[in-house]
């Protein structure tokens, strides 16, 4: 795959990749943008190399996921090292806006909150399968886990999310 092909693929997958980065960064847009940019740079400068063992989308999503995990570790380390104290209270991940008064946006926020209460791998597999339309097998490839493990996370996450959403609607 030459650079032109890669850029074309990135252009096609850009909205989906950003949505995935947002999900990996718990809808923190600025962090997601940084993670995605660093993933693109890795892809373009050859630090991350596509070996064609899976689809380009699966591979790109796994690069984004790894970048998000690194970013989370860095952020945790920075916060632990008095960063939180120094920078003052951190801004909440999702800043409510006036638009979110709308019912549909409120529902989105409720679902994001419910997703936030799932284990990270459960959230990832559900997002990959139900939003990005990947198979569980591809999701396992993105997450870097065995298919059986992904299936377990899928089943448990699904059960828990359905219960959480039912609770939300009942409340």
């Amino acid at each position: 795959m030459d650079r032109g092909d890669i850029e074309q693929q990135l252009a096609q997958l850009h909205p989906a990749a950003f949505a995935w980065a947002l999900s990996c960064c718990r809808w923190n847009a600025s962090e997601a943008e940084e993670v995605l940019q660093s993933a693109y740079l890795r892809v373009l400068d050859g630090t991350a190399r596509f070996a064609e063992r899976s689809s380009f989308k699966t591979w790109l999503f796994s690069v984004v996921r790894i970048g998000a995990a690194e970013s989370r570790r860095r952020r945790w380390f920075r916060d632990a090292a008095l960063g939180r104290w120094w920078e003052g209270t951190l801004a909440p991940a999702a800043v409510p806006s006036v638009d979110e008064e709308l019912e549909s946006r409120q529902r989105g926020a409720r679902v994001r909150e419910a997703l936030g209460r799932l284990a990270a791998r459960q959230r990832e597999v559900l997002d990959l399968v139900f939003f990005h339309g990947l198979s569980i097998e591809d999701a396992a490839g993105v997450m870097g886990v065995a298919l059986g493990t992904a299936r377990v996370h899928y089943q448990r996450g699904k059960r828990r999310l359905v219960a959480l959403l039912a609770l939300e609607e009942a409340a």
Binding site: A19, Q37, Y40, A81, L82, W86, G108, L115, F130, K158
Partner: protein
């Protein structure tokens, strides 16, 4: 049932991602290389300074505080309320060696000679 559940989850996830497209930054901007953001070194400096101060204080305390007393001062003997249970009849005799007066020793030797013991 399962497919209904799947549809519900699909719709829920779509709602969660609603607005993502509007927030998606232009690809061209993402591909332009920006200099890596440098984090402020101040938190690290504060951490290191705090650790150094703590170590210094610990060293000073170790140097200035004497060793703990080797034995407890007199008059601080701890006695349990149930100590009397250990005092069995005759225990005093077992703890002490009887002192024999010189006269008693002589008598003892004489009585031995009388009985025919050397």
């Amino acid at each position: 049932m399962k497919s209904e559940e799947d549809d519900a989850l699909r719709s829920a996830l779509a709602a969660a991602h609603q607005g993502d497209a509007a927030r998606t930054p232009p690809l061209q901007r993402m591909l332009e290389r920006r200099p890596p953001r440098r984090d402020s070194p101040l938190p690290w400096l504060v951490t290191c300074a705090s650790l150094a101060a703590a170590l210094g204080l610990a060293a000073w305390l170790v140097g200035h505080l004497g060793p703990p007393p080797a034995q407890l001062p007199s008059g601080t003997r701890w006695s349990f309320p149930t100590d009397f249970l250990l005092d069995t009849p005759g225990s005093v005799t077992l703890r002490t060696v009887p002192q024999l007066s010189p006269g008693f020793r002589e008598q003892l030797l004489e009585s031995g000679i009388r009985r025919g013991n050397p």
